[in-house]
């Protein structure tokens, strides 16, 4: 069996045009046996496919059953009223690393772009919400192809900075979304988890579907620093001087506590949670996430 090749994030980062990058990711994610999880209810017939257990009985083509004595279900072209809100954290911490390598924000942008591409291609309305130094930048949901370019352009040009992060985005969006919608959060979630838990529960209580991508850098997981550092906080002026080796164990312990608590919150809220590091191929991440049976079932139920 041929080894499947995934896209190197670094290589993707070298692609200047975010549209191209998004399409590349999407194509990589949906190639082969992958089926779009967003393919749902429609008024225009598209094709038949063999029945598989779990398919709703109302979509069985009874006539074809009579003719062929085989069970097939009907599939329809998408004409959806899905509204997806992309909340991309652009706080200062997302700028890590500031070196030439792929930052967490770049990686989150890539994922967000790919998702926006998929959704708009399916005529779903996509909204973008991200941080700006003086507040929150919000693009309302639209489903036009041309709108995709505007979304991607905003993501591409934006530089992460400031203290306000994903919490500000959630606060901004929660009162503006009236219908049940898909809310996709992309952040490193280095925030107060108790407050985040309240927001997540609130959104879930409003019936929204949540996809949560935690984007972190491998350095934050492994803490490979072996020298003296004057650590500067990327959101506040705070500094801390420490020896990387001596503080590593305590850091990893604190980090793991945070991660465990975050996963626990997401699990209790019934949220699709994916923690990715920026060295993972984004198409692979996307594919793994979108093709979860769980995700597909939920989408079908919704539409």
């Amino acid at each position: 069996m041929k080894q499947k090749a995934f896209l190197d994030p670094e290589v993707l980062a070298g692609i200047k045009n975010l549209v191209v990058r998004a399409r590349t990711v999407v194509e990589g994610a949906l190639v082969g046996e992958h089926v779009s999880p967003f393919r749902g209810g429609s008024i225009e017939f598209a094709q038949h496919r063999p029945y598989t257990p779990g398919d709703e009985l109302r979509y069985i083509d009874w006539r074809l059953l009579a003719r062929t004595d085989q069970l097939h279900v009907k599939q329809f072209e998408v004409t959806t009223n899905l509204r997806a809100y992309l909340l991309v954290d652009a706080s200062g911490s997302m700028a890590y690393p500031e070196s030439a390598s792929l930052s967490k924000y770049s990686y989150a942008s890539l994922l967000a772009s790919a998702l926006a591409y998929v959704l708009i291609q399916q005529s779903d309305a996509v909204s973008l919400c991200t941080n700006e130094p003086d507040g929150v930048r919000y693009l309302p949901p639209r489903s036009q192809i041309a709108y995709l370019k505007q979304i991607l352009s905003l993501l591409d040009q934006h530089a992460p900075q400031g203290e306000e992060g994903v919490m500000a985005l959630v606060r901004h969006v929660q009162d503006r979304v009236s219908h049940r919608s898909l809310i996709i959060l992309m952040s490193d979630f280095f925030v107060d988890l108790d407050q985040l838990n309240q927001r997540i529960k609130y959104l879930r209580g409003r019936g929204h579907d949540l996809m949560v991508f935690q984007v972190i850098h491998p350095d934050e997981v492994a803490f490979p620093f072996q020298r003296f550092y004057e650590f500067h906080c990327m959101e506040t002026p705070e500094t801390l001087t420490a020896d990387g080796r001596s503080i590593r164990d305590h850091y990893l312990e604190a980090f793991q506590e945070h991660q465990d608590k975050l996963k626990d919150i997401m699990r209790q809220a019934g949220v699709d949670f994916t923690s990715v590091t920026t060295d993972q191929p984004p198409d692979r991440v996307l594919a793994r996430h979108l093709n979860q049976p769980h995700r597909a079932q939920k989408l079908r139920k919704m539409y």
Binding site: S93, Y96, F190, E230, F231, H232, A242, D243, D249, E253
Partner: protein, 657 residues
């Protein structure tokens, strides 16, 4: 090892120079300033730091304690601490000339084990540590020359057991002087003299001179802690009192006040008495037993020095002193006779059972008297000498008093007196009383007489008339004379007899002299002298050393040794009860320990107001002074090493702080 002009006693310590590599390494290893790094997960770093700070604080406390310790050690090193330890010969001294001065006086037998045994064991240990041929000498206090033939460690060790305690009164003075002389003769330089003593003041007759340059004197006191010693220093019979009476002298040789019970035990009787004696004090108590036993035992509770806790005493059973008084001018009225006052002076305050027996007769009574029965014959104002009777006087010793009064015919007396070298002239009278010049000199007649009594005599006599005497070349002593030197009383011992001529003034014109307080002690002293009381007392109870000094030991035969000497190897006369070979009346002599040996007053107390003891003042070392600074330097080195290690480790962990 020499470096420039420095000498190192412990060159191995120079290995420590390798430690210089540590700061050099740390210097080279030292990290530059912290690398600035923007980091997103800053919150976790803060949490990590909070956890890490707890450990950091502990390390900082340790570091602070170490640094405080370094400073404390530095301060102590500059203060040059030292500790005094008992002297021990060691490898660096095992070739150095070493002279042991060993106190072998009786007081060294105090303690259990005794100071003497401990001293010998210590010396033996020291000798074993020394090179066998190292120059060594042993000087015993009793006889410094005895073991000087042995001058190596091995030979001294062989003769060490031959040194024994002596009962003689010995001090360390001669042995110490001999040690210094030995050093000078042997040209031993940089020598060590170690003096082993019980640490008492009585171990020295006088403070020794300072040691010369290069000679180290170690004064080792074997006495550990204060001794408790109540000792019986003397048991004697009081003169002129009952035979059953005893004077017991006790001494507290320890530094604490002691309560104790003394028991006096005879064959049929036992007396006990509770006594308290202050530190280093002595006291004499008189005990009276109802019977006169052959042997009396005086006992005090046992203590650290056992040899003075019991004394056996044989009371003197000799007959009373018999005195014949010949009154040459008897008066029908008894109180007008000189003999009345004379006799009264001898008997005043004496009890019925007195040890003196006085018989008074007239001159005529002399013819029928047996003069050989008397210890003293007192011729008071006898007109002519009873030459024939005196010629029959065979008792030796015996004494004759010639009291010259008004009735004395000097022409009749002079032939007799000229045989003694004396001549008497007519009486001389003064217009007014003349003062008496008392020249007691060192004549035994007035020996032991209180000066107050002599002053009473001088004040009481108002001389108005006296007989002129010429002593010529007779070698008579003149214990009493007038202001111009004219003899009032002359005395001489000749061929076992004692003669006293006394111009008493009584009959040379009546005075109130016999009523004066000074009359009584003079009369008693004269009769004591004539009856050889002083000579008898000398042989009664006396210290061992006095018996040796007087040459009495050839005449003494031990009858009973004092308790405790049977198991003790000592040299010298054993204290106890002796008889004299030449004594006609089997007189007993009691030899006792020299009282100085019972005094355990430490020599350290001798210098008042000075923190140093008397020995230290003289440059003697009572201990080996151990310099502690080198030890502290090792501690300092260790502290600095640990501090450097921890500081370096913290520096690596925390960077510049």
């Amino acid at each position: 090892m020499n470096l420039f002009s420095w000498t190192f006693l412990a060159p191995a310590a120079l290995v420590g120079f390798m430690g210089i590599a540590i700061p050099v390494y740390l210097h080279l290893r030292h990290k530059p300033r912290a690398v600035p790094l923007k980091f997103a997960a800053f919150e976790f770093l803060l949490r990590a730091r909070r956890k890490q700070k707890r450990r950091f604080r502990v390390e900082q406390w340790i570091l602070m304690a170490l640094r405080a310790g370094v400073l404390a050690l530095l301060a102590m090193i500059f203060a040059q601490p030292f500790r005094d330890e008992l002297f021990q010969t060691n490898s660096s001294l095992n070739r150095r000339p070493y002279i042991v001065v060993l106190d072998n006086s009786l007081s060294m037998l105090a303690g259990q084990p005794t100071c003497f045994d401990e001293a010998r064991n210590t010396v033996r240990d020291h000798l074993k540590q020394r090179d066998r041929t190292a120059p060594t000498a042993l000087l015993a206090a009793s006889d410094p020359e005895l073991h000087l033939a042995s001058q190596t460690a091995s030979s001294v060790e062989q003769v060490l057991d031959a040194v024994k305690v002596t009962t003689r009164r010995v001090t360390l003075d001669a042995a110490y002087q001999r040690a210094l002389q030995l050093l000078e003769d042997s040209e031993w330089t940089h020598a060590t003299i170690q003096i082993f003593s019980d640490g008492t003041r009585s171990a020295w007759r006088e403070l020794p001179p300072q040691p010369p340059e290069g000679v180290e004197v170690i004064y080792t006191s074997l006495r550990q802690g204060p001794f408790k010693n109540i000792g019986i220093t003397r048991v004697s019979q009081p003169q002129g009192f009952d035979a059953g009476e005893l004077d017991i002298t006790l001494a507290n040789g320890s530094a604490n006040t002691s309560d104790f019970i003394i028991s006096v035990v005879s064959e049929n009787e036992q007396l006990t008495h509770q006594l308290r004696l202050d530190r280093f004090q002595d006291t004499t108590h008189r005990f009276k037993l109802s019977d006169s036993s052959q042997k009396i035992t005086v006992r005090v509770p046992s203590d650290d020095f056992a040899l003075d806790n019991q004394v056996n005493f044989a009371p003197d059973q000799q007959s009373k002193t018999r005195i014949l008084v010949v009154d040459g001018d008897p008066s029908p009225t008894r109180r007008n006779s000189e003999s009345f006052f004379f006799e009264h002076a001898l008997n005043l305050h004496r009890k019925e059972n007195t040890s003196i027996d006085i018989e008074t007769i007239s001159v005529n009574g002399l013819k029928s008297a047996d003069l050989s029965e008397y210890d003293a014959i007192c011729l008071l104002n006898v007109s002519t000498p009873p030459t024939e009777q005196l010629a029959q006087l065979v008792s030796v010793p015996a004494g004759i008093l010639i009291s010259m009064g008004e009735r004395m015919d000097f022409d009749a007396w002079n032939p007799f007196l000229l045989q003694l070298g004396l001549e008497v002239f007519e009486a001389k009278r003064f217009d007014r009383p003349q003062a008496v010049e008392i020249s007691v000199g060192d004549h035994p007649l007035f020996e032991g007489m209180p000066i107050a009594d002599l002053e009473l005599y001088a004040q009481g006599i108002g001389i108005q008339a006296y007989r002129l005497m010429s002593v010529g070349r007779s070698n008579f002593s003149i214990p009493l004379s007038l202001f111009d030197g004219s003899p009032l009383l002359v005395a001489k011992e000749l061929e076992g007899r004692r003669y006293v001529l006394w111009t008493s003034t009584m009959d040379l014109g009546w005075t109130d002299f016999p009523l004066q307080p000074g009359y009584l002690p003079i009369v008693r002293k004269i009769t004591d002298y004539l009856s050889f009381k002083d000579a008898k007392a000398q042989s009664d109870t006396l210290p061992v050393d006095d018996a040796l000094r007087l040459g009495l030991m050839d005449q003494l035969v031990l009858q009973e040794a004092q308790e405790g000497y049977a198991d003790v190897p000592v040299t010298g006369p054993i204290p106890g009860i002796y008889t004299r070979r030449d004594s006609q009346n089997a007189q007993l002599t009691h030899l006792v320990i020299d009282p100085a040996e019972l005094d355990f007053r430490p020599i350290k107390d001798q210098v008042e107001g000075s923190p140093a003891s008397a020995m230290e003042e003289l440059g003697f070392k009572e201990f080996s002074r151990l310099d502690l600074a080198p030890n502290l330097l090792w501690w300092l080195f260790g502290f600095v090493l640990i501090e450097t290690w921890i500081a370096g480790r913290l520096s690596l962990k925390w960077g510049s702080r």
